[in-house]
Symmetry: C3
Subunit: 327 residues, 3 copies
């Protein structure tokens, strides 16, 4: 399990992407404590297939009082020579095989500042429907292959507005190698989805006021990432993705992001920047993270992010400071 | 603990009895994953009484994303020479002592297809109020006796419509014997309830559009079951119950069901059929289940059910296919 | 973990302070079962600081059926020579250092009868905002010191009614000593809060129909307690607190309470009485508790309370009887 305690805060317009939510009135700071208990079960069939489940018990509704317990990242798998089949609230194939810039840096904060800004993209076309994904993984040497599917549950809010979007699917490959002492990782993926009721927009854009593509729009996503570990304390990552919508009047969106991290003894720092380039307004954002390892599973972690959206002068900064613990 | 992964699906009119819910528009299929973690605590008093609690943590709101955690089957007990007293979300006396047809078969599916059809009856008069039941059990040799009570909490949705239904109670006996190599189980029970606000109907009937008896209707239930294990792979069960309502214009409802199962090595198959015979429209339904045991606690399980309601041409079929795991 | 089973009941006007809620129509009795599972995690940094989390999984919405799981008393701490810093749903400094009359008695019931009456006061100015409290504790010999803070999250129900109340804070000290064979405990504390949207009233007063002070009222709280263990089976406690509101037309509220308990072999009994003395109507209440220890962690526990509010002739009595278990 893991736990966090500290403060989260930020500007009045920060959308509810993660822990901190702006109050639209002025800047604010709040206490935040969180915990996650991961329960794992596993077994093996007579023919040697392994199977199991992993599920996180964690608080929801933080930073408010007394949240219910939410199940997060619930996943059931069965694995054998044929590969691994996993069903649950998991990454789709593209998100599984690609390493986004901030993951290449490998740091986090208790307010998730590195993932909440307007320039962040972290799950490609996943969770377009009910976020229940079936994924198949297969590895051979340094190569990995994944394919995934997310079914549209075909449930409208009323019968009259039934959601008959296509199912989504994704394909991706990864390749890891070592070149002159630098560990390199490459990922390439394709994903398809059809926007359901409520529309769809990449990344956090809809939280930042972007309209999104209307229901029925078919979106093709192509994405590639490169990550590097220089084995001298420095790490770096780069990601690119393109979102190609169907429909007259809809235009491509490009996203790119870069991240850089450095670790020296107990201290590590990181920075990441991302941008969505649309035919109209653009959105970008950046984040700084720092961690000081106290040993024994505890670390002091700090994060900061800010966002910039064209023609939208919001107060979007977020910050957090606290202690992260793992048990 | 246990877990499941697979697909559930069915017709557009399938009511929300269990995992799969029809969308009223067309047939559909959905991913489903579930898990249950059972927590047990127990102790012993100085005088030798044993006591304990059992509670299931499981997902609710599946097959949708990210359900909260629900407590299910929470029960606290204290046990001694006098018998066992249990309080919680448990079977009433009749459901405890009788073995319904599909339980005699002893199979299940990840979509609970065997319990969702219109001809299924599985809990007699339990859960007419708040589903908190106090039950006393006593066994002597092959005989078992149970008595239970469910209090009407006397809570209306508004003071003006206070629910002042009687408390419910139930009495039942069971007898197990062996006759010519065939294991036989007999159960006989009586249960009483008064319909509260919202009325009451047996089995899944209200989910299939039956009106139910109005608030204030007193219902006497008599039920009997016979189950047989032929010890050659075949198992069978038969159940009968009668629902006798008070009130002018209300008529008896009869329910009967039959089940048959066969196990050969790792494969087992089962079938069950049930029917509600009312003075007006009848409802019946049937289910097929199959399981292939992979060993180590894992099994591939499949289920199918369909329902037939007089003068109601709904598309009620359900099916499921997946892997069930226990740890 | 712990569990309870039994009945709770009482008068029609008992407010929803704890397990039993009156139905406004007539007296009622209900089954109640509850369980709490406490999960604890802890670790140690390289420099010797200890850290950890404690969280209770328990049912909510009892005594109704099938509650969700609620996280209660979630707290994360880090501790060292400097003292202990704790963040979560915890006691504020005053509640931590002072021993209320019913706590000095040290008994409880499954319906929490001893804490639900109109004369009960148990948390001073805690939970005025979101009940997330950061507290610092330091002990030196028989003395203890605590300081705590609760941030106003500054969230209104709408932007137009933003809640900009001050943050709350609290300071308290405790001293334990032995005088002529009698164990004595003293506590003294000060707390400040500003009433947010919805106003604020001490103790359970708002549940018993008191209007509370309007948003923006600043409240100074001074409190003192004395507890005594006579080491012959008798225990006693006394508490006093004063609530001094700002604002024209607002008047002080005084609260005092006294408790007495006696234990002989397996049997223990307790009584407590408390009163809120306001410039207008007064409210008082009293409770009786009894427990018979069965050994092994099980006890039969009974409780009774009644309340008396000036000019409010409600039927406020509550009672409970059951078995409490710990594992």
């Amino acid at each position: 399990g893991s736990a966090e305690m500290g403060i989260v805060g930020g500007g009045k317009d920060a959308p509810g992407v993660s822990t901190y939510v702006g109050n639209t009135r002025d800047s604010s700071v709040e206490f935040n404590n969180d915990f996650t208990l991961t329960v794992v079960g596993s077994g093996q069939t007579d023919s040697g297939l392994s199977f199991g489940i992993s599920v996180d018990f964690s608080t929801d509704a933080e930073p408010n009082e007394n949240g219910n317990v939410a199940l997060d990242n619930e996943a059931v798998f069965i694995s054998g020579d044929f590969g691994t089949l996993t069903l649950g609230e998991i990454d789709g194939a593209v998100d599984k095989r690609l390493t986004e810039a901030h993951n290449a840096v490998g740091q986090y904060s208790i307010g998730d500042d590195e993932t909440v800004h307007a320039g962040y993209q972290g799950s490609y076309g996943d969770a377009a429907y009910d976020n229940q994904i079936l994924r198949y993984d297969y590895s051979f040497g340094d190569f990995g292959f994944s394919a995934s599917m997310e079914l549209n549950d075909d449930k409208g809010t009323t019968p009259a507005t039934a959601d008959d979007a296509d199912n989504g699917y994704a394909l991706a490959i990864s390749y890891n190698t070592d070149m002159g002492g630098v560990g390199l990782g490459f990922g390439l993926g394709y994903q398809y989805l059809e926007a359901g009721i409520g529309g769809w927009a990449p990344g956090n854009l809809s939280d930042y006021g972007f309209a999104g593509w209307a229901a029925g729009t078919e979106v093709d996503i192509i994405a590639a990432t490169v990550s590097a570990d220089f084995n001298n304390g420095f790490k770096a990552g780069f990601e690119y993705s393109n979102y190609d919508p169907s429909g007259a009047g809809n235009s491509d969106v490009d996203h790119y992001a870069i991240g850089l991290g450095y670790t020296m003894d107990a201290l590590s720092v990181g920075a990441s920047y991302g941008k969505f380039d649309t035919s109209g307004d653009d959105a970008d954002g950046w984040a700084l993270t720092a961690a000081y390892d106290l040993g024994g599973g505890a670390a002091i972690v700090a994060g900061y992010s800010d966002s910039d959206v064209d023609n939208n002068d919001g107060d979007y900064e977020t910050y957090s400071l606290g202690v992260a613990m793992s048990f």
